[in-house]
């Protein structure tokens, strides 16, 4: 919203104050000013002048040679405007002056020297009208002498500042200059002047207006008044300039007047041509209807949209836009003036459904003060009479006040203010601030009772804490003494899930050189399809941007596989992981079963799949050892998803609890990732970690005696050997001497027979072991392993 300092100054005397500093204070106390535009600064030396003679330029069809009376002499002007005529009063930019930054000096145009420029409104920056030079006579007050600076007559100099509409959403009272002026008055401690209005009760004896509010739940107040004999067509120049500076556009006197009052009082007004609309109903159309708005668009009106009708014919979408058929035309001389308060939510929903937002609807959305209806009408009539003396009110002020907001009275005491602010704000400041903002205040000792003004009572100020905001924002947050709190010191217990996840990140980044990535909580079914992965049905987003993103993800892996594919030009080898959430259907209570997951994918063009798979194994081992101090076990499991390899999917268990799985891609998925590459992945449920009891570092005193390593080579179904099972079997018969079993080698001969070499490390706490002593133990071990299908190689 653009705001004019001239306009604000109509209501508060800001003379002697630095306007820029004031605007800065407005930012700190009320709402952020995004931009300041100085108007008229680069236009000067423009005077009222009179064209004495007009001659055609001998060599140009467009140009004219003028003699212009400046009041202190006659100058030659070359002018290209089509509307020049003898006797015309114009705005003449004189030698040495400037127009919108363009310096005026004598210039030769097609052989003739011009000593100035006749200006259009557009050139002066006061409207978009560039059709010809400004025919200034009808805008001049009587008795203006030639040579008078136009800035002495018209408000070309102004400071316009822009406030982001979003910062005013909770302040319906700030959607007009008068409300803004109230803020300035309070900030500066100066007096707020009321606008000139007429006394509407003077019309009480006049005929009524037929107003029938049927949809009483969507209307707070509807008022109407009829005015006749309006002859003026064009608005006064200063009104046009203000409207233009504030981002509007002059249309005609009546339309401008309603806009002007809206921009001043914040109350949208609508003027119907009385010839077409002489009675009003406010209602909805249960069956919907079609309606052409004044911008010429035909709109589909549904059953929830509030409409203004006249004799049941729709004439306006309430609070949004009027109709084409009843709009003000050039020949309109009588009107029915609407000043109403519609339900803000209803107006907002209507604009959303129609895709049509207007200056009026924006204001209604903020929950306007219904009390404004009367003020706005009284103000509009005062302006109308000021500029069109013959206009006549021909009805009473018809006022259907359907719903009223309650008066809000709040009580608080000094202690409350002190506790909330932490500083000492004097009583006088509290009282003065609140009164300035329109609150009535009474004080008794340390207690205050305030009544909230109607323009703040529609939703904005309802509780004591709201009063604190009013006091402190005007006091100025920059003026606060700041201090720390006296909160007791207590140790902070870290949230284990969070710390576990942080450690997982460190392990994967530092030990496994993986890259952390982020994606989305939903599956991307298009990307999945490219990889040949089916997107499982899951809880879904009902308003997803594309149907491809509707289902929430069940696993972290598919997105990571897609990322791996997208990164295959990055490096021949890389690994990525993501810590995030998945959803595995619903809980019994109907809420989502949301789980914390770690997913990782390893990709390589140079390594074998098995090597990647084993690296996944190592990473899982390290995570379990590091966080839980426990060694996980692996056992072949069933595939939960179609992207897993049926032969090489292994479940990871810690203390009997499944915490995740390691796998490699299904061959059909792998082929879609890349022709020549290897991929392996794992997924862990990090919540399972937080749930699992952490082990301790259990110290074992190393033996003082040297141990003995014995390497044994076995034949058998090598791929299905489980080291944990081997260790368990060997331990059972080792008389406490076995310290570890580790993998040494797998050798596969030309006939495809695999031999597995394992190292068995033995140690005694009592003596140095000899091979002979150990022989019976080794025999027992090999005997035990034969039961597992491992036969000693001869």
């Amino acid at each position: 919203m653009f705001l004019s300092m001239n306009w604000i100054s109509d209501f508060v005397d800001l003379s002697g104050l630095d306007r820029r500093a004031l605007i800065h204070n407005f930012t700190l106390s009320t709402a952020e000013v995004e931009d300041i535009i100085i108007k008229g600064e680069d236009t000067y030396g423009v005077i009222v002048a009179k064209i004495l003679t007009v001659e055609n330029h001998p060599n140009s069809k467009k140009l004219h040679l003028l003699k212009v009376d400046t009041g202190s002499g006659v100058v030659d002007i070359v002018c290209g405007a089509p509307n020049v005529r003898e006797g015309m009063l114009v705005a003449l930019a004189t030698d040495g002056g400037a127009v919108s930054g363009h310096k005026i000096t004598p210039a030769t145009i097609a052989g003739y020297t011009s000593y100035g420029m006749c200006c259009s409104e557009s050139e002066l920056g006061i409207s978009d009208d560039n059709s010809g030079i400004w025919d200034i006579e009808k805008d001049l007050p009587e008795g203006v002498a030639l040579g008078t600076d136009i800035k002495d007559i018209f408000d070309i100099d102004d400071i316009i500042f822009e406030v982001d509409n979003k910062s005013l959403t909770n302040r319906p009272d700030l959607w007009g200059h008068y409300g803004i002026a109230r803020e300035f008055a309070t900030i500066t401690g100066r007096e707020l002047k009321a606008p000139d209005t007429v006394d509407l009760s003077a019309y009480d004896g006049l005929p009524t207006v037929a107003v029938d509010v049927r949809a009483t739940d969507l209307v707070w107040r509807y008022s109407a008044i009829k005015v006749d004999n309006i002859l003026r067509k064009t608005s006064p120049a200063n009104m046009r300039i203000r409207l233009y500076y504030c981002g509007s556009r002059a249309i005609n006197f009546l339309a401008d007047l309603t806009n002007y009052v809206m921009m001043e009082e914040g109350q949208p007004m609508h003027a119907f041509d009385l010839k077409r609309v002489d009675k009003i109903e406010v209602q909805t159309f249960p069956m919907g209807t079609k309606f052409t708005t004044l911008d010429g668009e035909e709109r589909n009106i549904d059953d929830k949209m509030l409409m203004i009708t006249s004799g049941d014919e729709p004439v306006a979408i309430a609070g949004v836009m009027g109709g084409d058929a009843s709009k003000i035309e050039d020949d309109t001389t009588s009107l029915l003036l609407e000043s109403a308060t519609f339900d803000g939510v209803s107006v907002r929903k209507t604009t959303t459904r129609l895709g049509l937002r207007t200056d009026a609807s924006q204001r209604y959305e903020k929950m306007l003060d219904p009390e404004l209806c009367r003020t706005a009408t009284a103000r509009l009539l005062a302006l109308l009479f000021e500029y069109d003396k013959d206009a006549t009110v021909i009805s009473r002020f018809e006022d259907v006040y359907v719903n009223k907001y309650p008066t809000i009275t709040l009580e608080f005491d000094r202690r409350y203010v002190d506790r909330y602010t932490g500083i000492d704000i004097p009583d006088e400041t509290i009282v003065k601030t609140l009164r300035g903002l329109g609150f009535t205040v009474s004080q008794s000792g340390d207690s205050f009772t305030v009544t909230v003004p109607s323009w703040r009572a529609t939703k904005d100020v309802t509780i004591k804490a709201d009063i604190i905001e009013e006091i402190t924002r005007i006091y100025g947050y920059d003026n606060f003494n700041v201090c720390t709190s006296s909160m007791a010191l207590v140790p902070v217990r870290p949230e284990t899930l969070k710390t576990d996840e942080d450690r997982m990140k460190d392990i994967l980044v530092k030990s496994y050189r993986m890259h952390e990535v982020h994606s989305y909580i939903w599956s991307d079914s298009a990307k999945n399809a490219e990889l040949g992965i089916d997107t499982p049905k899951n809880v879904s987003i009902i308003n997803a941007q594309t149907p491809d993103h509707a289902h929430l993800r069940v696993s972290m892996i598919p997105t990571l596989l897609a990322f791996a594919k997208e990164n295959r030009g990055y490096k021949p080898d890389f690994a990525i992981f993501e810590l995030g959430h998945t959803v595995e259907g619903l809980r019994d209570d109907g809420t989502c079963l949301e789980l914390h997951k770690l997913g990782a994918v390893l990709y390589s063009k140079t390594r074998q799949e098995e090597s990647l798979f084993l690296e996944c194994r190592d990473a899982v081992l390290e995570i379990c050892e590091d966080i839980l101090h426990k060694t996980p076990t692996f056992s072949q499991g069933d595939c939960d998803f179609d992207f897993e390899h049926p032969a090489n999917t292994f479940d990871v268990f810690v203390d009997g609890v499944r915490v995740g799985y390691i796998s490699v891609p299904h061959p059909s998925v792998l082929a879609n990732i890349d022709k020549k590459c290897a991929v392996a992945f794992f997924e862990l449920s990090t919540e399972a970690f937080a749930g699992a009891p952490a082990g301790r570092n259990a110290y074992v005193q190393p033996s003082k005696f040297p141990g003995l390593d014995i390497d044994l080579t076995f034949l058998g179904d090598v791929p299905s050997v489980r080291l944990t099972a081997v260790r368990k079997a060997a331990e059972a018969v080792s008389e406490g001497l076995l310290s570890s079993v580790s993998f040494k080698d797998i050798y596969t001969d030309d006939e495809g027979v695999s031999a597995l070499t394992l190292r068995f490390s033995f140690v005694s706490q009592e003596k140095t072991l000899s091979k002979q002593e150990l022989a019976p133990v080794v025999n027992a071990v090999t005997g035990e392993l034969e039961k597992l299908g491992l036969v000693m190689k001869a």
Partner: protein
């Protein structure tokens, strides 16, 4: 005898230069100084000499001379060998670093960790929270009325089970108040979702961090102090803060907090739109209705809350121009963030 000594001396001096390795040196040592060597032979011959003392002295001198010369020669050879070893040593080149890429953290992780560290030092609990919540947590408990625009479909992703993807980290306020009660100091970073089209400045999935501090007599004065202190730590400089009125239903009074622009120092530049200030985080005194809904006695306790856009902070910190890079999975972008 004397002649024999002279002769041995001469023959040794002649041989010495030809001794260029340990073996020949050892052979000569044995030949002269060995048990059956020339010196031993001379010593035997001493029996037949009249002036034993003089002859003995001469033999001893010769022995010493040979021992000394051989020792010196031995050292020479040893140091020559070391020098030869040095000369022939393979030359390394540390400048030829083979590509062995380090892993990387997501930039959001790094930014989050930096901020978390500050709050941990100040005694805040770090909380983890769900991404999927109900209407109650996201709106109702936060004093956002039923018809508020924030609840409209165009802003919020609604799920077919009636829940929704949380639109702000404030959605955790209620649960955390109920979990800990007052007094309370907590931060809770998390992922948030808004149903909007993505472009260089907008993402439908982004990170925020919420913070709350609740105790008896927590005031606006405390809020300004803490925000200034925390942000000075986060940005590693003495930041200036300013508060402007801002409206959020879950705080009253509510503020927009600006910090002075680091780039221009507050004089105004393009990155602060010539204002000298950067809008950084909304904050405010927790609305009594929100405290009450969290089970906290509003007569006894007050508190403040703030929200920090972690994604935006990461963009500021690392100079990321396109917000979409964060969720792109592209390692060309993301692999650059090795450590804090």
């Amino acid at each position: 005898m004397k002649e024999r000594i002279e002769e041995l001396k001469r023959s040794f001096t002649e041989k010495l230069p030809s001794l260029t390795d340990k073996e020949s040196l050892e052979a000569v040592r044995i030949a002269y100084l060995g048990k059956k060597g020339y010196i031993a032979e001379l010593m035997k011959g001493l029996r037949d000499v009249s002036d034993k003392k003089t002859a003995g002295q001469l033999i001893n001198d010769l022995k010493n001379e040979i021992e000394g010369a051989l020792g010196a020669r031995d050292e020479e050879l040893a140091s020559a060998a070391i020098e030869a070893q040095i000369r022939s040593a393979k030359k390394y080149n540390p400048t030829l670093i083979p590509e062995r890429e380090l892993g990387s953290y997501h930039p959001i992780t790094l930014a989050t960790r930096e901020v978390e560290a500050v709050f941990e030092r100040m005694g805040f609990t770090i909380e983890n929270y769900a991404e999927i919540v109900g209407d109650y947590e996201c709106f109702e408990a936060l004093n956002i009325p039923k018809h508020h625009p924030a609840r409209d479909m165009q802003d919020t992703y609604y799920l077919d089970n009636g829940q929704l993807l949380k639109t702000h980290t404030s959605a955790a306020q209620n649960s955390i108040m109920k979990k800990y009660g007052a007094p309370l100091r907590a931060i809770f970073p998390g992922r948030c979702f808004r149903n909007e089209s993505t472009d260089a400045c907008h993402e439908n999935t982004f990170f925020q961090m919420e913070g709350m501090m609740i105790d008896e007599n927590i005031s606006i004065s405390n809020l300004i102090y803490f925000m200034k202190t925390m942000l000075s730590e986060v940005f590693n400089r003495d930041v200036k803060v300013r508060l402007r009125p801002g409206f959020f239903p879950f705080v009253e009074p509510g503020f927009e907090l600006d910090i002075n622009c680091e780039i221009c120092g507050g004089d105004g530049c393009p990155s602060c739109k010539n204002s000298g200030w950067l809008e950084l985080c909304p904050c405010g005194m927790i609305h009594p209705a929100v405290l009450r809904e969290g089970g906290i006695d509003t007569e006894k306790y007050t508190g403040f809350a703030f929200g920090l856009g972690l994604t935006r902070l990461a963009m500021m910190k690392y100079g990321v121009k396109d917000i979409r890079d964060f969720n792109s999975g592209s390692l060309k972008s993301l692999s650059q963030f090795k450590s804090i």
